[in-house]
């Protein structure tokens, strides 16, 4: 039987605010336990939540960037359940009227772009953390994370493979970091995904029974977890069993998913409007102001890189991996206009490799676009070869300075003087008569020997094309 896979994703993006969604406690990561849990976060009697304007504004930014509808009026609701890291006994969330409805994220399928539709995005607060080890049979509770603002982004079940789910998650990650509403740090839990996975016979309209896989905290694990779950469900059905709707947890060490909650505890959250919070009203003027501050979005910039600069879709995708990287590329293009491919190669090659080696972000790069541009201009005008440029890049990276000064002081200028190159070639041929004879008897691979020796003789500074031409000419006799 042929099976079709159906996947929908729920993503919790932690909103980049200084303070919590309903209190003035800090959201900074890594503080001592409970040092950032105030009376509101602890749910002490008599406290009231007051909504953070920046959290709302981030939600508006997302709604606009994903082309959803920002609700002029949305409602906060209580989602009731008992767990010690949720001191109120309910999570403040949105239920019937979320702040954003609809929208879409574009991904690639078979070489063309298709939209993955969004159901909604709503504001809610995060819970605290429970630590289950080392407390003499008790659990330890850290409420620093309690009340951290989240935007839960829910997709329609539009994805048809694990690879598509990962593509969607990557695009969503790129978008929320691009528009500056989330730092995207998956290790710190700033961007967390749950996947709803089901299978159905190809051609069938009705959905199969789905399982939810929780807490996929890296793109690699997401792909493996979904692939495992697809295999599990198909094998189960084909061997005569049925899929039970349940929540499963992915275990990366054993590469499998396991049931997390039994059906007996089936969720019944008894949502109702939170009487502590009034309706959230967002007027058209606010939306318009936010729209004005939105940067050019990755989709649009990628298309423009292809159309304006003649870059490949692949290069354009790499360069728009983050807003900062794209900005770097654009700044570089201002220094070396018309050399998009050269700039793209250096940004995605040497620069990215150097950043990766040091584990730093592009905004912390030790070479500015102006410095790198100065170097690329000398490749462009033939002053230096690409090989020498890489050496200069390393010096610029570690010691700073300017390409031109380095080329001058270290005598790295490419030798394009034909007579100088001819002299080197003649000396070489005189020193190696055997190899010359070999070449002339038809062993053409000896050519490489001469290229290597000639390059060595001039410290790699020969213009490769010129050198080849002279060698060919002379060796031919």
């Amino acid at each position: 039987m042929d099976w079709e896979v159906v996947i929908g994703l729920e993503t919790h993006a932690q909103l980049a605010t200084h303070s919590k969604i309903f209190s003035g406690a800090s959201t900074a990561f890594g503080a001592a336990p409970n040092a950032q849990a105030c009376a509101v976060d602890l749910a002490l009697p008599g406290v009231l939540p007051v909504l953070n304007r920046a959290a709302v504004e981030h939600a508006i930014r997302f709604g606009l960037a994903a082309e959803g509808v920002v609700a002029p009026r949305s409602i906060f609701a209580r989602k009731n359940y008992f767990y010690p890291d949720l001191p109120k006994g309910y999570q403040i969330s949105q239920f019937e009227t979320p702040v954003v409805s609809g929208g879409r994220i574009m991904i690639e399928r078979n070489g063309s772009e298709i939209p993955i539709r969004l159901t909604r995005a709503h504001l809610e607060e995060d819970a605290g953390k429970s630590l289950h080890e080392d407390f003499h049979g008790l659990s330890g509770i850290d409420l620093n994370r309690a009340g951290t603002p989240l935007l839960e982004i829910v997709s329609e079940p539009d994805m048809r493979s694990a690879a598509e789910a990962v593509a969607y998650a990557r695009e969503l990650h790129r978008l929320v970091t691009w528009i500056g509403i989330c730092d995207g740090n998956m290790q710190e839990g700033s961007f967390r995904c749950d996947a709803n996975v089901s299978v159905r016979p190809k051609g069938q309209q009705a959905f199969g029974t789905r399982c939810e896989i929780k807490n996929l905290n890296s793109f690699r694990f997401m792909e493996k977890a979904i692939e495992f779950e697809i295999r599990r469900q198909i094998e189960l059905i084909e061997s005569g069993g049925t899929v039970v709707q349940e929540t499963r947890l992915y275990d990366p060490d054993r590469d499998e998913t396991r049931p997390m909650r039994s059906k007996e505890d089936a969720q019944d959250y008894r949502y109702f409007p939170d009487p502590d919070l009034l309706p959230l009203c967002i007027d058209a003027a606010w939306i318009a102001r936010v729209r004005e501050t939105l940067p050019e979005l990755p989709d649009a910039m990628r298309r423009r890189f292809v159309e304006d600069f003649g870059l490949s879709h692949y290069d354009a995708g790499v360069l728009t991996a983050s807003h900062d990287l794209a900005q770097y590329f654009r700044a570089l293009m201002l220094v070396v206009p018309g050399e998009a491919k050269l700039c793209a190669n250096w940004v995605s090659g040497e620069l990215s490799a150097a950043l990766h080696r040091e584990g730093i972000e592009v905004r912390q790069s030790r070479i500015t676009p102006t410095q790198l541009g100065g170097l690329l201009r000398r490749i462009q005008d033939g002053t230096i070869s690409g090989k020498i440029a890489k050496e200069i890049f390393d010096v610029l990276w570690s010691d700073g300075g300017e390409a031109d000064t380095l080329i001058e002081s270290k005598g790295l200028k490419q030798i394009s003087d034909v007579s100088a190159l001819e002299k080197i070639v003649e000396e070489l041929m005189a020193a190696h008569p055997d190899q010359v004879a070999e070449y002339r008897s038809g062993k053409e691979k000896v050519f490489g020997f001469f290229v290597g020796r000639a390059m060595k003789a001039c410290g790699g500074r020969a213009n490769p094309a010129q050198l080849n031409a002279i060698l060919k000419d002379r060796l031919a006799g």
Partner: protein
Amino acid sequence: MALTENDLRHLARLARIRVEDDETGPMLAQLSGILGLIDQLQAVDTRGVEPLAHALDLEQRLRPDEVTETDRREQFQAVAPQVEAGLYLVPKVIE
């Protein structure tokens, strides 16, 4: 709408309320009475009436995104039943 004993047990479990066996009878009667009142409300034709999310006809006030709270962990934890290493301790929640 009549409530069954199973409904009652389920609700009690969700609300973490212990209901003794001899309490279920009277409680079922009381809750069913409340549901009877709700049935009367449900009978009203509300087509075209916008659901009311809040009794006050006001908008949510927003606060600027500023950290205004300081670390008062010691004071908060002074009234907690059990703490260790800065954590609040509670009965173990997983086996």
